[in-house]
């Protein structure tokens, strides 16, 4: 994990576009005036966030499940493979896809702040930004997964990936059994946001959303 700050070579999170600075200023002033409460704002955002970006990521995963060539490409160069579907980050960040298999389960966190693959997953859920998740995902990933209702076979390893401003991760969950006859759109329905962060698994076909 690299956190150097060479501005000539890297984009980093700590630059506000004029819009970001303006929104932050409005939020500060309106909060000071008692007109908004940041918690109420988060709550409104949260009502929408599950419906926003994760569909992009779900399409990436479904394509990787259905097309071995695409899966290979995604493994080798996730930034390019994902960009080929039209999903590109506006901050120029690189993507890496990490594949769950019989031996390893992958979990993504940003221990330092809340770096998140917006272009494929939309907005980060509130818990992803919370200090509790950020610290515990590394120290006790199995405990964190249990809280999300995910119990893995004892022998399965958990690999935790720490995101940075320059590199974001997308978990490719294991394809559930009994999905051979499904097309990519139907497969994408099985891929939840949490499955692509690693705090969930892909849905079974009968539980399709």
């Amino acid at each position: 994990m690299s956190h150097d700050h060479d501005d000539h070579h890297h984009h980093h999170d700590n630059h506000f576009s004029p819009m970001e600075a303006r929104v932050r200023a409005l939020e500060t002033i309106l909060t000071q005036k008692g007109l908004i409460d940041p918690k109420a704002i988060d709550a409104i955002v949260e009502t929408y966030e599950t419906n926003i970006g994760p569909r992009n990521g779900a399409r990436v995963v479904a394509k990787a499940w259905a097309e071995p060539d695409f899966a290979d490409w995604l493994k080798r160069d996730a930034t390019a493979a994902i960009a080929s579907l039209g999903y590109t980050g506006r901050q120029g960040e690189h993507m890496r896809a990490v594949f769950n298999d019989g031996e390893t389960h992958n979990l993504v966190v940003c221990t330092l702040c809340s770096c998140y693959p917006w272009s494929v997953l939309g907005l980060p859920p509130v818990w992803y930004k919370a200090p509790a998740y950020r610290s515990r995902a590394v120290i006790d990933p199995r405990g964190v997964l249990a809280e999300f209702g995910v119990t893995l076979p004892g022998g399965k390893k958990i690999r935790v990936w720490d995101s940075t401003a320059e590199l974001r991760y997308l978990v490719v969950p294991e394809r559930p059994d009994g999905t051979d006859g499904l097309d990519q759109e139907a497969l994408a329905d099985l891929v939840t946001r949490d499955a692509m962060i690693g705090t969930g698994l892909a849905l079974e076909p009968e539980a399709r959303a």
Partner: protein
């Protein structure tokens, strides 16, 4: 007015096939949520909001494909708040500059605090 009606009454808002708004970046969702909240608090009516937004969207030089929709959204929110005497434009721009400076002065991984603006 319910949130659904609010959304139905925001012409040009990018929405998903499920009819939910689509945000490309967190600040867009933040601006959207603040507007919804201010309306709920009766700081302005939705008609006043719609008029302010429409004025920005139709300003010459705006993107034809709506790529700058949320830039318009923020500009509309700024000017509506200043017109209604809630927050002056001067106050807004001074604080925006301070936030931009604070971000630049903060290393990655550290929380961006206004105090960091120096």
């Amino acid at each position: 007015m319910s949130r659904c009606e609010t959304l139905a009454d925001s012409p040009g808002l990018p929405v998903s096939t499920e009819g939910e708004p689509v945000f490309a970046e967190p600040w867009q969702a933040q601006a959207f949520a603040m507007t919804v909240r201010l309306h709920e608090q009766c700081v302005f009516t939705w008609a006043q909001w719609a008029e302010a937004l429409s004025r920005e969207v139709h300003r010459p030089g705006r993107a034809v494909d709506g790529a700058d929709y949320f830039d318009c959204w923020v500009a509309a929110l700024s000017s509506l708040l200043s017109e209604r005497g809630v927050v002056s434009e001067a106050e807004q721009s001074v604080l925006s500059d301070r936030w931009a400076r604070a971000a630049e002065a903060t290393p990655h991984g550290m929380p961006i605090l206004l105090e960091n603006a120096g």
